[in-house]
């Protein structure tokens, strides 16, 4: 059927639709077995250690540098208007609303998502998951669900740490290095950052990104063909799809949350 473009388009549309449907079905399947996984919290805490604690260093270093760059660039932009006191507000709002959740999610996809995909993919390639099924253990409940919830829990924690460290980075550059007035820096920040509208919405964003990124990573690993090539391809797909999902979700959530 070469040379029938209509059929080719139809195939692409059908493939896309069925993969979206399959992913949705898998997502609800994962949620369905989650209560069972919750009964063994030690599995989840082990995964939080693997996903969260090991990502801490890159999150803190990135947050610090993003905050420092924001402080520097914000100062350069604000000085012509004599508004460098607003630096604290600029740094904090940019971090808490957007950069904290989004950059953390992208780093998280690269740091933890890939390792989850590779791990699950190799487990599948080594037929460990099939072996579990043979022993009447549901691999989705035993392997996937604890990793999923660990990612969902770790992501907001990491995002919050990123924002807090970033604010400190902005403070270091803005106040200590450049010499913006310290009192104005903090008071402008406090006057314009709302706990509910900005801080908690940022945490909510991280939470949603945590669901999207972790689920993508697990899904790609679980449904990779058990070959070295496809496991490596699945790892790449995790980063690409998770990043695109983060951008898309971020746009929608920003439009919903900060539309005043």
């Amino acid at each position: 059927m070469i040379g029938n473009p209509l059929a080719a388009i139809g195939r692409v549309v059908l493939d896309t639709l069925s993969s979206i449907g399959f992913a949705t079905r898998s997502f609800f399947g994962l949620l369905q077995v989650s209560p069972g996984a919750m009964r063994r919290p030690s599995l989840i805490s082990e995964q939080i250690h693997f996903i969260g604690n090991h990502s801490l260093v890159i999150i803190i270093v990135s947050g610090l540098f993003v905050g420092m760059v924001l402080g520097l660039q914000g100062y350069i932009t604000l000085t012509p208007y004599g508004a460098e006191q607003k630096l604290g507000q600029v740094v904090a709002l940019a971090l808490v609303r957007e950069l904290g959740p989004v950059v953390t999610a992208l780093l998280f996809a690269g740091r933890a998502g890939t390792s989850l995909t590779a791990q699950i993919g190799l487990m599948k390639a080594g037929e460990q998951l099939s072996a579990m099924e043979m022993m009447a253990i549901n691999p989705i409940q035993r392997v996937l669900a604890p990793r999923f919830w660990a990612g969902v829990i770790a992501m907001p924690v990491l995002g919050t740490i990123f924002s807090a460290v970033g604010v400190l980075g902005g403070y270091l550059v803005g106040v200590q290095l450049i010499g913006v007035d310290e009192g104005a820096f903090w008071s402008q920040m406090q006057a314009n950052v709302d706990v509910r509208a900005d801080v908690l919405n940022g945490v909510l964003k991280s939470f949603v990104f945590g669901i999207a990124v972790t689920f993508t990573a697990l899904f790609q690993g679980y449904h990779a063909d058990p070959t070295p090539e496809d496991v490596s391809r699945a790892t790449t797909r995790t980063v690409v799809i998770a990043s695109l999902m983060v951008w898309g979700l971020d746009f929608v959530m920003t439009a919903l949350m900060f539309n005043k």
């Binding site: 801490l56 770790a154 990491l158 801080v199």
Partner: protein, 157 residues
């Protein structure tokens, strides 16, 4: 033993997250300025509130003495009805007046309350009738242009 250590590290991780949240809420956010103290509500009617928003401060002599609660429109008198949540610790005379002011040239708008001389204080539910509206920049410019034009006419005579 190994199991315990992992729990300790995870606990530390979550604690670090909570500390970060607390830092953002208290140091970067307005949690410390949110007043959970007792307030009493009074209302004021304005012809034009300009860009006043809920949660804007109510200041007297520059000190925050309350916050703007909600803002409604009265379609009988075609005026804006602003509810003010005043800090219960501050009492003002009944004949105090309200003004909508702007912080700086382009800053946020807030309400200034100027105390009157009455011996009876405002109580919850009271309405302040002496109010002055926000200054709208266009009106100001119009006034300026008209007065300039009038000056020009006089000079040419």
């Amino acid at each position: 033993m190994h199991r315990k250590m992992i729990d300790v590290w995870v606990g530390l991780f979550v604690l670090l997250g909570l500390a970060a949240l607390l830092f953002l809420a208290l140091k970067a956010g307005n949690m410390s300025t949110l007043s959970f103290g007792k307030t009493y509500a009074i209302t004021g009617k304005f012809d034009n509130i300009g860009g006043l928003k809920p949660q804007a401060p109510v200041k007297s002599a520059g000190v925050v003495v309350g916050r703007v609660g909600n803002i409604r429109f009265d379609d009988k008198q075609f005026q804006a009805v602003v509810t003010l949540e005043m800090d219960a610790g501050y009492k003002f005379p009944k004949d105090s007046s309200l003004q909508i002011l702007t912080a700086g040239l382009l800053g946020e708008q807030y309400i200034g309350i100027s105390p009157g001389g009455d011996t009876v204080n405002l109580a919850a539910g009271d309405r302040i009738s002496r109010t002055s509206s926000a200054t709208v920049l266009e009106d100001l410019i119009n006034q300026f242009i008209y007065s300039k034009a009038a000056d020009g006419k006089d000079a040419s005579k």
